[in-house]
Symmetry: C2
C-alpha cells in the first residue's frame, strides 16, 4: 500500500493518510482482509508521529473501513465493501429506519439516491455564502456569543418580508427561528399535545413528523388524500371520532405525493377547521419551489390562526439548520419558551449570513436559478415514467417540490422492488414509511431533485425493468 503525504497542504496529516487508505479500499487495491501496516511501521515509513497514524486508523475504524483484531493486527474490514454497506441498510421500513438510512445511503458511492427529498448540493450558492461569512468576521464576537431564543431580529424582519410577498402578514414579532423545521414540529407538538393525544395527518405524510410523534407518544390518525388535497369528509369524521389536538397538512407540493391543494379545498378546510375549532399546522417547506405557478399562497394567507412552519432546508441548504414559524399569541410565547428550554438559541452566524443573503437579493436570485433545474428534472422523470413504466403503474404529477408518488399494481410489494433497486444501484423510499399504520406497501416515493436528467432516466428505466420482471415472470 503506497501512501504519499504532503506537508504543505492544509489538510491535517492524519486526514491525508485516512483518505489514501480509503481510496485504496474503494478502488479495490486493498481487498477485504488485507493487512494494514502496524502503527509503528507506518509512522516510521511516513516520518510522522504514531499518534497521527493512530488517529487515521481510529477514523477509518469508526467508519467501518478497517478493523483491529487484538494481537493479530489491523485489516480491511468486511464492512468496507459496497455490497456489505447496502446489506447493512435498515431492514425496518419505519420512519426511524428510513431516517437512520439517510446518511448511510449517501455514504455508499455506487448508489444513486432518489430516496430523500433533498436539494441538490451542486446547486448550493457556496461562493456567495462563504463570502458573506468572511465579511461577517468583524462581528464575530457577537455572532459567536449568546443571542436571543426568538432568533436574530434582522432575520425575522427579512422573513417577514418574504412572507408578505406570498400574502402572509406576519410581523417580525410573530416569527420564531428554529433549528430547522424539524424543531418547529417538535415545539408545536410539545406545546399542543400530551402523551396519548391524537393528531390528524394526511395519508401519506412527512416521515420526520411520524417519527417525532412516536418519540413523544402522540398518536397519529391518517386520513386519505385525493388529487386536490386531504379528503374533508374523512377529516370531519376523524374530528368527531378522535377529538384531535390538531391537523397537520402540507398544502403546497405535499411530501411525499407532490400534491398542490386546490383553492376550493383550502377554503373548505379552513371553514371546517373554524366550525370545529381545529388547530391547523401548515408545513410549507416546499412552498417556495413552484414549477408551474408563479406564486402559491400558504393557508396562513387565508387565515391567520394557522400555525405556519417553513425552513431554508429545501429552498437553500439543509446544513444551515434554520427553520421558522409564525403562530398566533399566546401560543407564540409558549413556543418561544419551549425553544429556549430545548436548545437555548440557534447559531447566530448562520442567521446573520442568511439575513445578508436575503437582503442583498441573493435568495431571490438563488430561487430563480434553481427552480428551472428542478423543473427540468420533474419534466424528465414524468417523461421517463411514461416511456418505461408498464400498464398498471400510476404516479402523481407534482407542480413543485422534490418528490412524486408511485403506485404499483396491487400484487407487487414496493419493499421488494426497493431492495432489488438497491442491489442495482438506485435508492427509492418504500411507501410504508409514510403511513402511521405501515400500510402503503404498494407505493414508492421518488425524489427527483438531487439527480441530473440522465441519472433520472437511468433510474426509472431500471425501476421499470424490476417491476416488469415481477409482473411478467
Amino acid at each position: 500500500m503506497q501512501i504519499a503525504i504532503d506537508r504543505d497542504r492544509d489538510q491535517p496529516l492524519y486526514h491525508q493518510i485516512a483518505s489514501h487508505i480509503r481510496q485504496h479500499i474503494r478502488y479495490g487495491q486493498a481487498p477485504i482482509g488485507t493487512r494494514l501496516p502496524s502503527i509503528r511501521q507506518l509512522a516510521s515509513d511516513l516520518g510522522v508521529t504514531r499518534l497521527t497514524v493512530e488517529t487515521a486508523y481510529d477514523e477509518l475504524r469508526a467508519e467501518g473501513w478497517i478493523e483491529t483484531v487484538v494481537g493479530r493486527g489491523t485489516f480491511v474490514a468486511r464492512t468496507a465493501s459496497q455490497e456489505e454497506r447496502i446489506n447493512r441498510l435498515s431492514s425496518e421500513v419505519s420512519p426511524r429506519g428510513i431516517l437512520e438510512d439517510l446518511q448511510r445511503i449517501s455514504d455508499i458511492d455506487v448508489l444513486r439516491s432518489l430516496a430523500y427529498a433533498e436539494p441538490d448540493p451542486a446547486l448550493f450558492p457556496v461562493e456567495s455564502f462563504w463570502n458573506i461569512i468572511a465579511n461577517l468576521k468583524p462581528f464575530a464576537q457577537d455572532l459567536m456569543g449568546y443571542v436571543g431564543a426568538e432568533g436574530d431580529a434582522e432575520l425575522r424582519i427579512a422573513i417577514s418580508g418574504m412572507l408578505r410577498e406570498r400574502g402572509v402578514e406576519s410581523g417580525p414579532d410573530d416569527i420564531l427561528i428554529t433549528t430547522g423545521a424539524a424543531q418547529a414540529l417538535t415545539l408545536v407538538t410539545q406545546s399542543l399535545t400530551r402523551r396519548g393525544d391524537v393528531v390528524i395527518v394526511e395519508k401519506p405524510t412527512h416521515i420526520t413528523l411520524l417519527h417525532l410523534l412516536e418519540a413523544q407518544g402522540v398518536r397519529p390518525v391518517a386520513i386519505p388524500m385525493d388529487g386536490h388535497g386531504p379528503n374533508l369528509n374523512w377529516l370531519e369524521q376523524a374530528i368527531v371520532q378522535y377529538q384531535p389536538r390538531c391537523f397537520y397538512t402540507i398544502p403546497n407540493f405535499h411530501n411525499p405525493t407532490g400534491t398542490l391543494m386546490s383553492q376550493r379545498r383550502r377554503e373548505d378546510l379552513l371553514s371546517l377547521a373554524r366550525r370545529y375549532q381545529l388547530t391547523i399546522i401548515e408545513d410549507d417547506i416546499y412552498g417556495w419551489l413552484p414549477f408551474d405557478t408563479p406564486i402559491q399562497e400558504p393557508l396562513k394567507a387565508l387565515d391567520d390562526s394557522v400555525i405556519y412552519i417553513s425552513s431554508f432546508t429545501k429552498m437553500l441548504m439543509p446544513g444551515l439548520r434554520i427553520g421558522f414559524m409564525s403562530s398566533p399569541q399566546p401560543l407564540h410565547n409558549h413556543l418561544l419558551d419551549l425553544k429556549r428550554s430545548n436548545d437555548l438559541f440557534t447559531a447566530a452566524l448562520f442567521q446573520a449570513a442568511l439575513t445578508t443573503f436575503i437582503r442583498s437579493g441573493h435568495m431571490r436570485a438563488h430561487l430563480k436559478r434553481v427552480v428551472p433545474h428542478y423543473r427540468q428534472r420533474r419534466d424528465q422523470i414524468l417523461r421517463s415514467l411514461k416511456t418505461h413504466m408498464p400498464p398498471g403503474v400510476t404516479w402523481t404529477e407534482p407542480s413543485g417540490g422534490f418528490s412524486l408518488w408511485l403506485t404499483l399494481p396491487s400484487h407487487i410489494d414496493a419493499i421488494w422492488v426497493q431492495r432489488r433497486a438497491l442491489r442495482l444501484g438506485f435508492a427509492f423510499t418504500p411507501g410504508s414509511a409514510f403511513f402511521p399504520d405501515n400500510s402503503g406497501s404498494q407505493h414508492l416515493r421518488i425524489c427527483f431533485a438531487q439527480q441530473p436528467p440522465d441519472i433520472i432516466e437511468e433510474a426509472i428505466s431500471v425501476l421499470a425493468n424490476i417491476i416488469k420482471q415481477e409482473l411478467y415472470e
Copy 2:
C-alpha cells in the same frame, strides 16, 4: 438628524441608516419623542429607495428604538432610553425570567454584566476559526447538506481523545453530538422521565435545567450542598422518599457556587448511586476550565454508567451550539433517536471546523491562553470581596469555572440588592432563580469571567456599598 451613508462599504445601506439613527439616540442627540423624517423624505435626502429606509425603520422598531403612530409619524420611542430598558428587565425572578433577560441585559450598553456564566467574547479565537472555515470551502457541498444525527465521526473521535486525557474511556460510538449542552439535558430528560416524575438536583442548581424540567412537567427536588459537594444524607433520604428517576450534579466547578466536589464525596456518591441503582447525570461543562489543579477527572472516569454531558459553549464559544454526551447502551441509542426527532442533526460546518480546531492543537492552545485570564479575574474578585464587603457577607472561593456564590446577612433581600445594582450599572443574578422552590433570596451569583479586573473591582465596590447602605442606614 444628520445621516451619512457610504455606498462602498460592505454593510447594507439599510443597516448603515439604522446604525446612524441608533447612535443618535444612544448619545442623546435624538431624545425620546423626536420625530424622524418620513420614509419618503429620508429616501429622497439620501438618494436611496423607500424600501431601504422602510427596512431600517422596521429594524429599529423591532428593537424598540422607534415607534410609529399611524397618521402622525415616526418618533424615538420611550422604550429607547437605557433606564426604560432596565425597567423592562423581567420582574419575575424565575429561571424563565432570568433566561429571558439574558439577551436584554447584553443589549443595554451602560450595564456591566456579571449576571451570566459566559466566556469573554474578547477571548474568542476569531482569527483561527474564520481561517478554518475559509479552508473548508472545498467541502461545502457536504458540510451544507444532511449529516448523521449522531454527529461528525471525526469530531466524535477528537472528543473521545479529549475525554481520554481526563480519564474517561468513551469511544466515538459512545458519543452523541448535541445542539449545545441544553439539548443534551433536554434529550436525557425526555428519555428518562415522564410528566410528574421527580429528578433530584443540587441546591442551588443550573438555571437552564430548572427551566427545562418545568417545561417538561418534571418535578425537581433539591438537596443541600456543602463545600465538598451535595449532602449525601439528604440525597439518600430523597431517594427513599421520592424514588427519583435520576440525580443531576455538576461536580467540577459547580454552577452557581463554583464548588469542586471532593474526591471522597465522589466515591461516596457513586457507591450510594450503585446501592440504590440511581442514574447520575453529570454536567461537566466547566470541567475544562480549572484554575488551580492541573486536571480534574469527571465522575464518568470513576464509573462508566454515569451519563456525561459537556459542551464547547464555555470552553470555546457559545455560538457554535455544539455540546456532547456519553452514555451507556441502550440509553445512547434512545438518545440518538430522540436527537433525530428533535432537530434531525447539528450543523456540520461548525462540527468540521471544531474538529480541525481540536486536531490541529488550537483547542489546547486556546485553553492555555484563556485560563490565566479567568484565573486572574477570579483572583481579582476574591481580593475585591475581601476589601469591600462588610462583615456578615460570605462567599465561595471557586477553583475553576465562571461564577461564585455570595450570601448576604439574613435580613437583606438579594432581589432588592440586585435591582439597586442594575440602576447603578451592574448586573448580577438573584439567587432565587437557582432554587426550584424560589427560596435562596439571600444569595447572589456573581460571574467574573466576562469582565476585566478593573470592572470587577468597580462592580464589587458598588455592590458592597449597596449592602452597607442596607445594613447601616
